[in-house]
């Protein structure tokens, strides 16, 4: 018989080794999968890396994908810290993009810096308010937030679809259901050939890190996540913290909506989220709810996404393979947590004394 013993001797280095071997194992299993499809896994992996980092142009693309992932992960992280299972990032991105686009389309006479600033806060408010709905229902009625946030995703997407096919349809697009392109003063400027979202992302990582580790509210968020009873006993207004934190969580996702609309697509469309809201759940968890680790994890995942769209052409392996690989990596890392928290011992046969 095997038996689990809680361990306290786990240091960061060994934990890292265990997690890294889990990722490695996931890659090996995926390699078997690729082999089954009739390709050489080594070639595919090399092509994947080449597709993601092979040229400055590809690196730019990879970073462009990493930006929304990083910021969304930060948003999800704040909710997950409280064990509030916010899987509504998709919807929050949508609603952030919606409000930012509203300003972009109706105030396009404003000077660029002012308009962008208004759009930025529009994004925060759009996403933040959308996240407040499940938060309010949770603190008021104890409603399950996982399903509510998810339902709100679908509703937000239907809302943008409605705008795109209805009231916001561009009359100049000759019947094609699309929303008008933003004017130039509503577009994010570029630095080193990448829209300035990357600077915003880095700044937000630092801000969120400081928020969690060096502010009273950040501390309270962590305590609420550890135990609501402890928090209440310690005099923390749990309901208020949940509401505030969720506004921040959704607000961060809303920023992503603004950045994607203004920096990448140049307009609002149904495809604005590109599934980042779901991938970010994985990256958030993989980063161990640590804002500093989010950057490398998200760049890795962005590389996986960019790289697999590259191998799609050369090996005819569809893009969805990236999703499979990503979830596989998380499965293995999740499974490996047991070996970080527990030691497995052989249960000794009971010796009879008499």
């Amino acid at each position: 018989m095997l038996k689990l013993v809680k361990r306290s001797d786990m240091n960061t280095k060994r934990a890292f080794i265990i997690r890294a071997s889990a990722v490695f194992l996931a890659l090996i299993i995926s390699a078997c999968f690729i082999l089954l499809l009739g390709h050489n896994p080594l070639e595919v992996y090399i092509a994947l890396i080449d597709g993601a980092f092979g040229s400055w142009y590809r690196i730019q693309d990879t970073i462009t994908i990493a930006i929304p992932l990083i910021i969304t992960s930060l948003g999800i992280l704040i909710a997950f810290k409280m064990k509030f299972w916010n899987i509504g990032a998709e919807g929050q991105i949508c609603m952030g993009a919606f409000l930012a686009s509203y300003f972009a389309l109706s105030f396009n006479h404003l000077p660029k810096p002012l308009l962008l600033l208004i759009m930025f806060f529009g994004g925060i408010i759009g996403g933040g308010l959308w996240a407040l709905i499940p938060a309010y229902l949770k603190v008021r009625f104890g409603t399950n937030e996982t399903i509510i946030t998810l339902m709100l995703n679908y509703i937000a997407i239907k809302w943008v679809t409605y705008l795109q096919y209805g009231p916001w349809k561009d009359p100049d697009s000759m019947g094609f259901p699309k929303i008008a392109d933003f004017t130039d003063n509503a577009l994010l400027p570029e630095v080193f050939g990448i829209h300035i979202g990357w600077i915003i992302a880095i700044a937000l990582v630092i801000i969120v890190y400081l928020f969690i580790h060096h502010t009273k509210m950040g501390y309270e968020v962590s305590v609420v996540g550890e135990s609501q009873d402890t928090a209440r006993y310690g005099g923390i207004n749990v309901k208020q913290i949940i509401l505030k934190a969720l506004f921040i969580s959704g607000g961060l996702c809303g920023i992503v909506g603004m950045i994607q609309a203004s920096g990448v697509d140049g307009t609002l469309s149904v495809d604005i989220t590109s599934g980042y809201g779901y991938t970010a759940i994985i990256t958030t968890w993989l980063s161990g709810l640590n804002s500093a680790v989010i950057i490398p994890v998200c760049v890795l995942f962005a590389a996986l996404t960019k790289g697999s769209s590259f191998i799609q052409i050369s090996f005819m392996i569809p893009q969805s393979a990236a999703e499979i690989l990503q979830s596989m990596i998380l499965f293995f890392v999740l499974g490996s947590e047991l070996f970080i928290r527990y030691r497995i011992e052989r249960r000794k046969a009971k010796k009879e004394v008499y």
Binding site: L137, I147, M151, I155, W159, S320, G335
Partner: protein, 307 residues
């Protein structure tokens, strides 16, 4: 509202019913599996693929159930044996199932279900029962899959409330360590019911790709897996109530098509079931009676050593 509306509502409710029953079994064992959507998609693609290649309806059903259970096995191994966080594991299973199904389904896009299967699942009138006014045409002039749904509901209800196994299962959901003490094999029960739950979810997805649509399209379940999880709460973890809940939601799906002439935008009508799910969840949380509460140990990993 005419009879055809309700008949269509039953059809639309069927995938929800299977998934809801599956999740009830899973949650009764104390496991919250948020991978329903993923398992449904895996079942849908497996059911379509098996049906497409073999033209055999039974093999199609079997494949869907098996693949659904396979998805649940991943979840089960991680959460039962390796004691991972159930929420995150379930979410990942959904992402995995979505990716896998669209990966495997690529070659099926635009393909048609073989006629033999389409004929097998054409509505059959049950003698006598189908002649009951109103209820007959609605409930008993349907396809075999739907009758299977009724039977499974009855069997699960009986199993849960009238058999020893069902009693054991419920006690595991409430308090696994007590169940363990009286000699119930907790992990075995958990595995069996998590797998059973996955199989039912797989069948629920397959109803869409084999009977309802019947075609393979990416993301064919369109969030039904999540609605099913909400319906579990709504039905108070009771299979009999689940069938009712599924039909009501089936009706809601159909309603969207029926009131198109009212000149409301289709995309806003499409949002209706999701909005209704939210309302139902809020109402069931407000009710909050003790009979409605979830299994006490839902979501917690069971460590024998920490007993």
């Amino acid at each position: 509202m005419d009879i055809s509306f309700f008949t269509a509502a039953v059809v639309a409710g069927m995938p929800l019913l299977f998934a809801t029953l599956g999740e009830i079994m899973t949650e009764r064992s104390g496991h919250l599996n948020l991978g329903v959507e993923g398992m449904m998609l895996m079942g849908a693609v497996a059911g379509f693929g098996a049906g497409f290649y073999t033209s055999n309806p039974l093999i199609a059903l079997l494949a869907a159930a098996l693949v659904g259970a396979l998805g649940a096995l991943i979840y089960g191994f991680l959460t039962i044996t390796l004691k991972t966080n159930q929420v995150v594991t379930g979410l990942t299973l959904t992402i995995f199932g979505t990716g896998l199904s669209s990966f495997l389904g690529q070659s099926f896009i635009g393909e048609k279900m073989p006629d033999r299967i389409i004929t097998f699942f054409t509505p059959i009138k049950i003698p006598l029962l189908s002649e009951i006014p109103v209820v007959g045409p609605i409930l008993f002039s349907q396809d075999v899959f739907i009758y299977m749904g009724y039977v499974i509901t009855l069997i699960l209800g009986f199993y849960l409330y009238r058999t020893r196994f069902g009693l054991n299962l419920r006690s595991i959901g409430e308090n696994p360590s007590v169940a363990d003490t009286v000699g119930i094999h907790v992990d075995l029960y958990k595995y069996v019911h998590v797998l059973l739950g996955g199989a039912l979810c797989g069948l629920g997805g397959a109803y869409l790709s084999i009977v309802d649509v019947p075609q393979w399209t990416e993301g064919i379940t369109a969030g039904r897996g999540w609605i099913a999880i909400a319906l579990v709460i709504f039905s108070g973890w009771n299979p009999y109530k689940a069938i009712l809940a599924a039909f009501v939601f089936g009706g809601l799906n159909i309603l969207g098509f029926r009131i198109q002439h009212l000149n409301i935008s289709q995309s806003l009508l499409d949002a209706l079931p999701y909005l209704a799910t939210i309302i139902i969840l809020v109402v069931s949380s407000m009710r909050n009676s003790s009979k409605q509460s979830p299994p006490a140990n839902l979501g917690n990993a069971y460590f024998r050593e920490e007993r």
